[in-house]
Symmetry: D2
Subunit: 149 residues, 4 copies
């Protein structure tokens, strides 16, 4: 029997609505929450563009940051004060306007640190098949506060 996420996509989206104005402004929402992987989507908004008409780097960084947070709490439950200590992103392709997805998973879940990896991609139809085109790759570390706090 598979482990369940500590929090549903709907609960995460209510949390965004209430507490994460950044994610709300850039139309970021959880699509799937599983302990093994979460998927978030940043739906298209003109506010997310940069010169050249492609999606701005900070939107991708914000999407990744939210996805890393989501996968941590999918595993350890709602810990509002878990904070990113490090995030590193490689931009691979300029994403044209459209809905952007981010899948995050955990590489190592320790007592004090969680190291995560995320892929940012968009979907495209390729002869009846839905494919993913990778546009950025992210690694990040979350610091988990001691349980008694």
């Amino acid at each position: 029997m598979a482990k369940q996420s500590e929090i549903t996509a709907e609960e995460f989206n209510q949390f965004i609505e209430r507490d994460l104005p950044f994610a709300r402004i850039f139309n970021i929402a959880a699509v799937e929450m599983q302990p093994e992987a979460v998927v978030l989507c940043a739906s298209h908004t003109a506010d997310g563009l940069r010169p050249g008409g492609t999606i701005a780097g900070p939107v991708m960084m914000g999407l990744a940051d939210a996805a890393l947070y989501a996968v941590v709490i999918a595993n350890i439950g709602m810990v509002k004060l878990a904070v990113t200590t490090n995030l590193s992103i490689n931009f691979l392709r300029k994403p044209r306007p459209g809905d952007l997805y981010c899948r995050a998973k955990i590489l190592k879940l320790g007592k004090r640190l969680a190291v995560c990896e995320a892929s940012i991609y968009y979907l495209h139809e390729d002869e009846d098949r839905i494919g993913e085109e990778l546009v950025a790759h992210v690694t990040g570390t979350y610091s988990i506060p001691p349980a008694d706090k």
Copy 2:
């Protein structure tokens, strides 16, 4: 005689107004543009907060990304299609609400890549003295398009 920036703070701020909605939303503006260093400020806005009432990571990443871009064009002139290839940030302290500054400088300016460093800090008065408190440290690489494009 010191080299001058290829672009003034005012010109950069007009560019933000027109072309960088992300920076506009988070009140990001250039304060100082010199080839040796640029300083940008993200003035306080409630949209930039995260749970716990501190400033959200994506706001800092967006501020840093804009500052890295600013220091590159302060040196090579307006190249709208220069793109970040890599950005790595270490979050050092949770910044309480307030105006956040970012100073960026170039570590190496090559023909194809510019490697930059940035410090994110806020100012505080400490007995008649203005001090800086470091809240994050960033390194990033920009890819410079060939001159004929």
Copy 3:
């Protein structure tokens, strides 16, 4: 018909023998060379240990650097002057002494930059099954010199 590697594991190992003293000292050798992924192994040597008796970080960084280089040349052929511009490593577990493996693949192969990812792991037998235990995760960027050089 699958694309073949531009270079065999044997050729890569001859190159290590001749030109990469670092890799030779730490017993690094190619096990598998395919354009989709290469696998290198750092066989156990007491010179690779650190206090606590685990394998030292620089050995893992050297193994990853060699693996990133190997996967680049598996795709574009022997370009001795391709150089790493950036390498970022997350250490996940302290690896006990033993043979360490690194699998590297390319995330994006451009004309000027190749962005790669690598996993460092050791093998363990788990009830008749061979498993991999991840000990570090690496991303890196290679700069590819212009073809006419």
Copy 4:
């Protein structure tokens, strides 16, 4: 009265001799140990070269890793089990053969994590003046074990 380093350069070099074969092989030694900054040197050895005759990336990564460790213990005393959790390096120039230096300092010293920065450079004489030429820039995070361990 300035704070003193918890450990002298001589003590650190004895530690290298005994416990860090990697550093010994690549002629790495502490030159200066202060809590504000440490300087290590990797003296020239043919074993540290790569194709093209410049100094290999893993030697620079090993030098930086040792320097980050040195600056942490200069501040908190000898903690053999402090481990790097993350290291990110930007290579700026190919260093020609010669003695390579690394200066490391702490950006943030917390109870559980120390975030550090290091510059790798070589010295050159420039009309009676000794200058530093930056060849790589490093950031890294150390995890500090709980005091009772």
